[in-house]
């Protein structure tokens, strides 16, 4: 699993590449912790190159939602493959988390909040 983080305008972008499973979820947790500390308007998670996700990866995301809400930071996921979206959907997370088609859509969504 590779994670790249960058600030763009008022957004903190985290790009995920590879498999997010029990052995790699700690990397996303660290990246999210740093992203929250960066105190940007929103954290946008780029899932374009994310090949696989299992419960520890999803758990890291959901466990940070409350911290983000407290700090008024929104989390938006984008460019998710159908395979990954299917996993979020089966958990009902497609209704609880904003999931957008592209980075531009994610920025627009976060901007309008």
């Amino acid at each position: 699993m590779e994670i790249q983080a960058a600030n763009e305008e008022h957004y903190h972008i985290i790009a995920l590449k590879g498999d997010l499973d029990a052995s790699s979820s700690i990397k996303l947790d660290t990246a999210l912790e740093n992203a929250i500390l960066a105190n940007q308007k929103a954290i946008l998670i780029d899932c374009k190159l994310l090949d696989y996700i299992s419960s520890p990866g999803i758990g890291v995301l959901t466990s940070r939602l409350d911290d983000c809400e407290t700090k008024n930071i929104s989390i938006v996921l984008f460019a998710m493959s159908e395979k990954i979206y299917n996993v979020f959907k089966i958990l009902g997370l497609d209704q609880l988390l904003p999931i957008k088609q592209s980075k531009e859509d994610a920025k627009l969504y976060a901007h309008d909040l």
Binding site: S23, Y52, G59
Partner: protein
Amino acid sequence: MQNFMPMIYSIQVPCRKSNLKRVRAFVETVLERYYINPNEANLMVLAVDEVCANLMIHSHQCNPSERIQIRIKDDKEDLIFEIHDHTVECFNMLDYKTPDMQQVIKEKKNGGIGLILVKKIMDKIQIEREGNHNICRLYKKALNPKPNV
């Protein structure tokens, strides 16, 4: 009349989280023998991964000198994913109440999501224990095999 011999595929891995990738590759390779939608195949891979990760972490404390075995059986009625391990105490996922996602988010719980996934993905789950040998069986309705694969 010929006796039917179920197809059985098997792999054994040490209890190390990095081996989950090997487990997934094994399940994917077996599923390539069947006509199956890639999204559906991914969900089956995910369910097996969740059970294996749970056993490696909670039952075996990621001790690489201990091993788990994954067997996939096709008995024509079901595709059965069996996860075998040996422990003093057996983790029986059927004893645990599945939380809902709202509760998981509210309580910042990392656990429980895997259990939700396995229960939603699979048609039936069975836990068997003989001595210190545990078998977790995940059932999925039989798939159509591809010819000559």
